[in-house]
Amino acid sequence: MWRGCLVSLDFKQLHQQVKQLGENAVIRQKHLQNLRVTARELLNQNAERASQLRKKVLMVARNVDPDIRCALPLNEALNTSFPLPDLPNTATVIAADGSQINPNRHAEVNYCVINVGAIQMSYSSSTPPRPTIYSELLYDEKLYTPRGMLTEGLVALTRDLNERQVFVELAKEASENPVITFTDGPMELWGAKEPPGSLTFQESLHKYLKILTQLQKLNVITAGYVDKPSADLVIRLLEVAMTPEPDLENIRTSRPLRGVTDRDLFAQILSEGKRSAMFSLQSKSAKEYSGPLALHFFYLNVGQHDHGWIVRVEIPAWVAEDATMLEALHAILIHQCRILGGRAYPYLLHRAHEVAVVHRDEKEQLTQMIIQELRRRGVQVGEKSQKQAVKDLPGRTSYG
């Protein structure tokens, strides 16, 4: 309801709803706690049944739900954990992150920028990490795809591709082995706003797989770091495990452990610095990644001092199947997270974000630079849309 007052939220209406939320939360917390206990029991009961479970999941994917997205166990016991290995004596660690200025038809000039920041650190010396920035300006025809204007989803997709391409370039120059690279987020290319199967997504995926192959040939350890993961891939595996075979036909809608996440599960199992068993990923899209590129993941407790913090680390098969690579990655990630003390997050990933992020004033500066260049050449510059101009008026603003 519009109230014509100085705040946009109607706190009177929300107050009642927040009270209701609080009442439900108590009940839900108890319910989830019971489910977490059940999940842990299921994990222990099925710990040594990796092979049977694998067959069962593949059967479900083949006969019942080809879209099922869950963990596929390998040879390790499901509830096993691996202690923190020693840091390698030498390593080149590279993190990359990206940001973008999305095309904006409401602005005076329509352009797009894809910015990738990378930072590289040598573990055998105390020389400061080396930041690198790659800025790409897209304009005119580059703002179009065969299906129309470049969307925000496609910009994000290109940014993700560029992040990985940077790894290839930097890894070629690295003087110290092993070379370990990571980005924030999953390894699986995610075209959130582009329908999977669309031409542009497929093109991007093809390029991405090519980049991964290059990294594999360079013997690079590459990973995707997922902080505070909300996925329930292992939980879904346990749901398949607990469902009797005759009932599997309803597995698509059957979610007895709904609400429990893998993070909840492994927080009960992994102590400080330890990693979980390795899993591969069963999903429709994961099939695109085959052989040495097949997607794998493990959970890792990067917290310390009794403050556990579970993250998911996604890696390709060529890393998952090489014990030395895996140990180096495990040790480096824990070391990186400990640099930031109480905030367990890889230092270089945070720095890559700092290097990559495009600030509002930088965006404004670039817009003015483009406008000046156009005017200098006698090209007519457009106007902001009326909507944008009114939004940009100084004064009170609200979120959203």
Partner: protein, 202 residues
């Protein structure tokens, strides 16, 4: 002629003083009490004394101090690669027009991004022997600053510049002038002389 040492660029200014921003890598040159100059157009330059060097924190630095030991590489990354804000505050104490040095407040302040240099020993000698210590007034009027420490530090540095060419009486003349200026302010005089004696003993 010795090469001028650039210590940073101007962030903001007023008639009585200005603030300089610098990189951490430039921070080994400027020191508390040092005489600096800002050359402007047409043989006009402003002189000032550094009275504060401020190193601000940010979220990442705050986080890093909570860690158990910080690697050398991480310290170097934060000091060299990151935009650590270092601000140097300067008290205006005079200016030069042509060959004439005046111990008066500058007619107009420096502008944003003007370059600030550390004064050479020759420039310190020139500035401190022009007139009769008129610039001491600006220091003594700056009641919010640590006056005695600032004077002591400046006099120590200026005295070294004079001693380098065998001009020993400068510090005695400077001290006498301070005693004269502070003859009606016994409390300040006592603290200034106390700080000066520390300098002389050092």
């Amino acid at each position: 002629m010795t090469k001028s040492i650039e210590i940073g660029r101007l962030l903001r200014a007023g008639t009585t003083g200005f603030v300089v921003g610098c990189r951490v890598s430039q921070l080994d040159s400027p020191s508390f009490g040092a005489l600096v100059r800002v050359p402007l157009e047409n043989s006009y330059q402003i002189f000032g004394l550094i009275h504060n060097i401020q190193i601000d924190d940010d979220g990442l630095v705050r986080q890093l101090v909570t860690a158990e030991g910080v690697d050398e590489a991480i310290i170097a990354d934060n000091r060299i690669n990151r935009n650590v804000p270092v601000e140097i505050s300067v008290l205006s104490v005079g200016y030069q027009e042509g060959n004439q040095i005046r111990h008066l407040l500058p007619p107009r302040p420096p502008l944003s991004l003007d370059v600030i240099y550390l004064c050479s020993q020759e420039e310190i000698r020139q500035f401190t022997t022009s007139g009769r210590f008129g610039y001491f007034r600006h220091i003594l009027y700056a009641k919010d600053l640590p006056i005695s420490e600032l004077l002591a530090s400046h006099i120590k540095q200026a005295n070294a510049a004079h001693l380098a060419v065998g001009e020993s009486p400068w510090i005695q003349t400077a001290t006498k002038e301070l005693i004269t200026l502070l003859r009606d302010d016994y409390q300040t005089l006592t603290t200034v002389l106390g700080s000066l004696s520390d300098v002389l003993e050092g």
